[in-house]
Symmetry: C2
Subunit: 479 residues, 2 copies
């Protein structure tokens, strides 16, 4: 127990020890039944005489804060807790902290509606074969022993899992090899490390407008400039791209070509080829985020941009989170050429390695057959839910404009100009429905006010009906 002592301030050492222990016991830092070191060993550790420690313990014991159990040692007594240690006084932060003052982006805590319907999740946890997966984890622990909890090697991830990824990619029209796959801690990490390797503060990244909110947050945190290309029913308006490439000299194009987040749009085949050709001509890497590319409910599928890549032009991000459970925190990145090794190195300095147990459990659980079966089930289920949401929105929110997405997870509503989805949110929450306000999906957040994003995949048709009705109420309350 490394108690900080000050030998120069004139306060007797036993009092310093006693005061420190008292404070920690009362604040709950040292909870009931914590064993205190034996007096001799604490004395040795602190470099004081044994009698000093004995004196400190004696005062605490007479005050009922600690008790000695014959033969087993000294323990913290069950005492009423006064609450965690006092806050450090906020008035005295060092100067270097001044730049961060007032920047806190945390929303004030709200009392949660007892029966909140949330249109903000990703998939539906109730739909996840939880028992089977739990069993898989246990099997892996039994089979692999401590290896499942060691580092593994600091390379591009558990090899059998990378082979599984290759099988999944093949079913998505992408042909590759395990040595081009890097396992990441979710696709968010893939996004972060691509940006960190390819870009510097001040560089321009071209994105769809609107785009994924946490990509925007990442770009902001890295000091990147964001230039947006508007999205229509067929995805990014690639026709608008060339002047922007000339004007801004971007260092990266970030695109979500399938069932885009948040707009739900799917990039047409012609635009995919055109995008790749332009990126090649202007020497800009493409980062293709295919977070839900397989979740198609109707219409003709579009091959990944990566499948047209003649070599090293496209970096492809995939994830298991959307198909299985988000808390698995395992995604993957596919890239070719010398840059791949840089991603591997950057991954290592970011967090060494992705939890080996999760990698091994996923590998054992996700066979290509299971993946396909799971996909078929999800498509059936989510299609129904999309239809339920379309019906409910048409009924209760007829003033909202939207395109029916052919897949994915999101409905993207547009209200009239002057509408404020960020003002709507607290009202909606108080009425028991949650959504993602459009402001999160635009670099210039004001542009997003008329929009809101609804996830239809995580709620049953009944919940969807109820939730959209509540949203109607919220809209009326606001206006």
């Amino acid at each position: 127990m490394r108690i900080p002592l000050d030998r120069s301030n004139g306060i007797p050492l036993y009092q310093q020890i006693e005061a420190w222990l008292r404070q920690n016991i009362l604040s709950g830092g040292l909870p009931t039944d914590t064993r205190l070191p034996a007096t001799r060993s604490l004395a040795d550790e602190l470099g004081v005489s044994r009698i000093t420690v004995q004196n400190a313990y004696a005062v605490l014991e007479s005050d009922g804060l600690i008790l000695t159990r014959e033969g087993s040692g000294t323990f913290v007594a069950p005492v009423p807790r006064l609450g965690w240690a006092e806050e450090v006084d906020g008035g005295d932060w060092p100067l270097w902290q001044a730049q961060f003052e007032g920047q806190a982006a945390v929303s004030p805590p709200q009392t949660r509606h007892p029966d909140l319907i949330s249109f903000t999740g990703v998939g539906d946890p109730r739909h996840f074969p939880f028992r089977e997966f739990s069993r898989t984890i246990q099997e892996v622990l039994r089979r692999d022993g401590t290896a499942a909890l060691e580092y593994g090697s600091f390379d591009n991830g558990h090899l059998p899992l990378r082979e599984t990824v290759i099988h999944i990619l093949a079913s998505q029209g992408i042909q590759s090899r395990p040595e081009h796959v890097l396992i990441t801690s979710g696709s968010q990490q893939g996004l972060a490390l691509v940006c960190q390797v390819l870009l510097q503060a001040g560089d321009v990244v071209l994105v769809e407008k609107p785009t994924y909110n946490l990509a925007l947050e990442l770009f902001r945190s890295l000091g990147l400039k964001v230039v947006g290309i508007p999205v229509d029913r067929n995805g990014m308006q690639v026709e608008e791209l060339e002047p922007l490439l000339q004007q801004h000299c971007p260092r990266l194009i970030y695109t979500i070509p399938n069932f885009q987040n948040p707009s739900g749009a799917c990039l047409s085949s012609a635009r995919r080829r055109q995008l790749l050709a332009l990126a090649d001509r202007y020497n800009v890497p493409i980062l293709e985020d295919d977070f839900a590319g397989d979740l198609r409910y109707e219409g003709r599928s579009q091959p990944a941009i990566k499948s047209f890549d003649p070599g090293g032009r496209v970096i492809y991000l995939g994830t298991f989170s959307k198909m299985l459970m988000p808390g698995l925190r395992v995604g993957y990145l596919l890239a070719h050429g010398p840059v791949f090794e840089q991603f591997v190195c950057q991954k290592r300095v970011l967090d060494l390695t992705t939890t080996p147990l999760m990698q091994r459990a996923l590998d054992r659980y996700v066979t290509i057959g299971r993946y396909q079966a799971y996909l078929r089930r999800s498509v059936r289920l989510f299609r129904q839910r999309r239809d339920a949401m379309v019906t409910a929105v048409q009924r209760y929110l007829p003033e909202a404009a939207f395109s029916i997405p052919q897949g994915g997870l999101f409905l993207w509503l547009k209200f009239a100009d002057g509408f404020s989805s960020s003002r709507l949110l607290p009202v909606a929450l108080s009425l028991g429905v949650e959504f993602a306000p459009g402001v999160r999906f635009f670099a210039d957040s004001a542009e997003g006010e008329p929009y809101l994003r609804l996830n239809f995949a995580s709620c049953t048709p009944q919940e969807i009906e109820t939730g959209i009705r509540r949203l109607r109420q919220a809209v009326e309350t606001l206006s």
Copy 2:
């Protein structure tokens, strides 16, 4: 199955489909028993006629690559695999990849000695109560259900685990509150996000010389300038600090005050206070990496620098990896003041959240009592191993100079000038012993040639004796 088709190249679509499937089946991308889509649904998906798909399947079936099982569908047949798809030709990388060419830092694969003794690990996996921890994981899955595999909230981590961290910190002399703790994906992530929030490319970071190799790799990847302060038996030579602060205006001081990695030195109490005072005077944040602060085998303990912090000067990093298992990938960061919220935001853009299952399992497993008991066992075991290594080195490598560390994991040997530990490594590996060459621990790697770092905690005394004997052989082979 999103097969990429080209409608403009004149090759019949059925041939394109057939060729694509054939290639993927032969390369192993689509393994045996993968179910192919029904002809009608693949036709719909690709926007071709059903007869086109039927023709493609017919050719593949007559070649024995796929087979139809009456009533259950079409599957990939068991065929000899020709190996993963061909490499993309490396000659045609886009121009933007040129900067990464030849930068690959991967060491050539070596045939592993059948009975390699490695002095490079962290703790000893054989010593980890694996069964108990496996049971804990299963209990958490049973107790929490899918919640253990969902995102949780994107805040500073699972609250009960943060409370546990406060208890552990209290036993280390640091008093704080759960709202100042951020759970990270290992302490490496803590290090990364502190640097990313506080520093920009070109900024100077002051470090001990030598210092932790993956910190150096991180600094390099972020484009930081590294200025080193030599270490002696009492840690960083803080007396040398002031002129460096004046000359280089560093934006961060990174220190490992306890059983420093790699030198094993422990920063004296006087120097701790002096370091804090200087950092305060020159307005520089301190990042205190306390990766093994509790692993003391003798001598007087030193309170963490964080325990003297009057408020917001010191950012403290801790980890469960060294005490338990490295593959858990859970660490924590303690910080005060407005900067804390920035760390929380940066953590979110880096990887959203740390695997919830691991956070919950750790919380359930690590009680303060268990932590203390585990620590006592580790101290007993590792002290013996340190002594065994000291004896073996004195016997077999009498020419190596070193200080006996009072705790931690490492022995840091210095050979004569002109000695090259990086040339020694391949020889040592071929003789069945592994160590970390000194070059990894210096910003200017040449300075590290005479040094090597040995981890004594992960091997038994017998293994240590054998390993050091092999190292003797290696030294002789080299000279």
